[in-house]
Symmetry: C2
Subunit: 520 residues, 2 copies
């Protein structure tokens, strides 16, 4: 790979991701060529008995899931059903909700009963649980953590599905305490997908959402034991493949990814392409919208998800390839420039500090609606332009080149900062083309910007317009110099990276991850 495009930052060590493995679950090696090889844990319904063994080894008799948002219902039900499936009623799964929570009826309907102690006050239940999984919102966790941690049983293991809380502590100069073991299992899909694919796993072998895992044991001797509790949680909620990361790499790649091509970058790019093609097609807004948004989220994303990036490019007709490369060359450096700024803000925890402050202001100053005030998205809504499939024209090939340059810029930015390949490819490519973009294809990009997590909404509203501005100028600006163009082109034709992407794609479940027509 071209050194100038991806020069790994030696100060960011991905070591604990690469030392990942299991003493109980079967593993396999992924021989990545562009990064270092990784070990992943192989799950599946036939491994559910091992879940019970891992919990036994760590003396886990009660598991508490706190919160009932996106991940809460999925993970609590999946874990309960897994333990039931292997005949282990002695390991109890319960749900913690405050007495005034509006989610209580939903948890009861899902089978968590107050009468038998499977549903109750989070602080009370925390004092009796051996594994406490925190599934409340990022801002909610910041609010409750002191009281929750005070209520913990000595020696309890604390779980998160996101590295945000660890990042929040860093942003205020603190660390996760060494009084408890902390683990993370981060599913690479939305909560409803975690539940839906788990249920599909009953009759489709390998169905389930892949997860990444991070571990901070309270002593080195406990590392292996605690790591297998995390693996058991991951396999228990249905992950066919589990890979390693660290709390801080996860929160960084996650916030960076949603601000970039998973959401913010995609939104800003659509707006920039809308302006760009409007100059050409004037008031024919249906055609302009196809090129700027629905063609990308539909036809192009389908093809990328099916074939991978380089095979998709090679499948284009010759004239289309030339137009694709023109879009790629024109946009790549602009994406890379904005992403470098985003990565710096996220990695330094400034972005987290900002989210925490802005979340506190939301009660007084709610976020305005993106879709309502925008010509482009209003037009698409009124005219029903979502969810269509269109043929690939030369102009759409150009737009695809712009989109793919954003995905490649995101892959390069994360690899250059030392993230492991599984995390990079999942956060930059698989989660985009298999999960979030198909969802936006059905509902609209602006709809997603208006309805995602608070952390993502706040970041998107800031960075989306910056992408739009930078890309608008890049699309209309001069072509890159010859040297620049060769460097950019080489970055697309990096065979090792595309082979690694394929290897990650091979680890995907055999069913569709996205659930476009259900709620988030």
């Amino acid at each position: 790979m071209n050194e100038t495009i991806v020069s790994p930052n030696p100060s960011v060590s991905p070591d604990s991701a690469l030392s990942y493995g299991s003493g109980l679950f079967p593993t396999k090696g992924l021989d990545f060529r562009s990064g270092r090889p990784e070990v992943v844990v192989v799950g599946g319904r036939d491994r559910f008995p091992v879940v019970g063994m891992a919990f036994d080894d760590a003396r886990i008799k009660q598991i508490l899931c706190v919160g009932w948002g996106s991940q809460g219902p999925a993970q609590a039900q999946n874990l309960r059903d897994t333990l039931k499936d292997i005949g282990r009623p002695d390991i109890k799964v319960c749900v913690g909700l405050r007495p005034d929570s509006r989610s209580i009826p939903k948890a009861i309907a899902a089978g968590f009963d107050q009468a038998d102690g499977a549903l109750g006050d989070p602080y009370h239940l925390a004092s009796k649980s051996d594994l406490v999984i925190c599934l409340v919102s990022d801002g909610g966790m910041v609010d409750i953590h002191k009281e929750l941690f005070k209520a913990l049983k000595p020696g309890a293991i604390v779980g998160f599905s996101h590295g945000f809380f660890a990042g929040y502590l860093k942003s205020i100069g603190q660390e996760l305490s060494s009084d408890h073991d902390f683990i993370m299992v981060a599913p690479k899909g939305m909560g409803p997908s975690v539940r839906k694919l788990y249920l599909q796993g009953f009759d489709t072998n390998g169905a389930g959402i892949n997860c990444s895992v991070a571990v901070q044991a309270r002593s080195p001797e406990r590392f292996q034991l605690v790591q297998d509790v995390a693996n058991a949680w991951s396999v228990g909620i249905g992950a066919p493949i589990t890979f390693g990361t660290t709390f801080l790499n996860e929160v960084t790649s996650d916030l960076f990814g949603e601000r970039s091509m998973l959401l913010g970058g995609l939104w800003g790019m659509s707006e920039a392409l809308f302006g760009y093609f409007s100059d050409v097609y004037g008031k024919n807004m249906d055609s302009v919208f196809e090129l700027a948004s629905s063609g990308i989220t539909g036809t192009i994303t389908d093809a990328l998800s099916k074939h991978g990036i380089l095979p998709f490019y090679l499948s284009l007709a010759q004239g289309q390839r030339a137009r694709f490369m023109r879009g790629y060359e024109q946009a790549y450096s602009a994406f890379r420039e904005v992403m470098t700024s985003i990565y710096a803000d996220v990695r330094s925890f400034r972005e987290i500090g900002k989210v925490i402050e802005a979340t506190k202001r939301l009660s007084e100053q709610p976020m305005s609606n993106i879709e309502a005030g925008s010509l482009m998205w209003q037009h698409a809504r009124t005219r029903g332009l979502y969810g269509k499939r269109v043929p690939i024209t030369d102009d759409l090939a150009f737009a695809a080149g712009v989109y793919v340059s954003g995905i490649m810029a995101q892959l390069h930015t994360l690899l250059a900062n030392g993230h492991n390949v599984s995390e990079v490819v999942n956060e930059s490519f698989i989660e985009a083309v298999d999960s979030l973009t198909p969802y936006m294809d059905a509902r609209g990009v602006a709809y997603m910007v208006d309805n995602c997590s608070t952390t993502a909404r706040l970041g998107t509203r800031l960075w989306g317009p910056v992408f739009r501005d930078r890309l608008s100028r890049a699309l209309r600006g001069p072509r890159p110099t010859i040297e620049e163009m060769i460097r950019i082109k080489d970055s697309l034709f990096d065979g090792s990276l595309h082979r690694d992407i394929q290897l990650c794609m091979d680890q995907r479940p055999p069913v569709r991850i996205s659930i476009p027509l259900e709620g988030k």
Copy 2:
């Protein structure tokens, strides 16, 4: 004033601004009604002898100005000329430039001679100077401060023209050391204006650029003495009026102001108005540009500078007033929302951390040009649309309402965070309508965004697009609710605030501050 619009934040104390004064120079009280009253120092050429007395009291025999950028040439020459004027050759003013500096010939041409020690290596000269005034760029100061401070004579006083360095220290958890006295004199105009108005002061009484002053003495007993060194520096470079602030209030209001209506907000607003009026006037880009930019920076800014905000509004014809109010109502909350985010990022020093990191990346990744890639600014440049004066139409009254709502939102944001009235009105109104906006009227807003300080350029590129996005949606979005509209309208008709603005306007020099047709 409506409490919801401006509720002062009690955690931000402006006390040291309000305890400002002088034991040597004449002062006068400004009886501000919306905030607390303030004391200002009255300068002028007839006070120059007091400058020498203040330097004598603090045993200042040599003054070093480090750097030759915007402020360096102005302040070094003005101080030298003032001391010459009062016959004090024993107090020497010298300029410190590194041996490889490309500015050396310019400093020599301005009369600073290497032979008599008035020009030389900054570290060497620092070891022999009693007052060391740091006038290098924000990033440059961060780079050299350790070596420069190490070279200082014991007991030397250190001066800045900006609170940035103190803010940088805060951003890395440090403070200005208590080994030295630190003072700040921040002129409310660009360096070339500081020089030009000083020269005008020879024949126009009261000509000169107003300054704000901050003081951190190394012991409470030295406060008065050191404060008068700052006052002497301010009066010595020609300030007719000097008012008090703190290092942190200055850097906050300065970075906030340039990211808001002084530059970033004005740019984003112009782009949003360009899109808004394009929907109406289609391809008649000359007219659209008039409404979106040159009408505001020309005719409207002239009128605001001459009359003040409320008198300008009252001078409009009845139909124009209605259109003005419509623009004001539609945009005010959008401006306020973005400004709240900016203020939070600046006040928490996140914005400074970001600037420092981004400055380091500039050698590898230079900032792209705003004007080159933009339809709107390219059109204006090609067609020569800058510097015109147009009559006020109904549409321009609407655009003026949008612009003024941004200025009012900025005033309200700073007042709500406890900044003193002189600082607020200077940073939000006077510096805009008297200095920066007229400059942009002649050269173009995008030109200024491409050519201002690194700190301002970095911030503008981030926040400009956010203003554009938020305002575009606000202009096309629904009207505010009745309650909201009353609250917004009241915020414009706040008589106390407009009286205070008038009082600040009365303190302005009697000559034009802006120098549109010279370099920065």
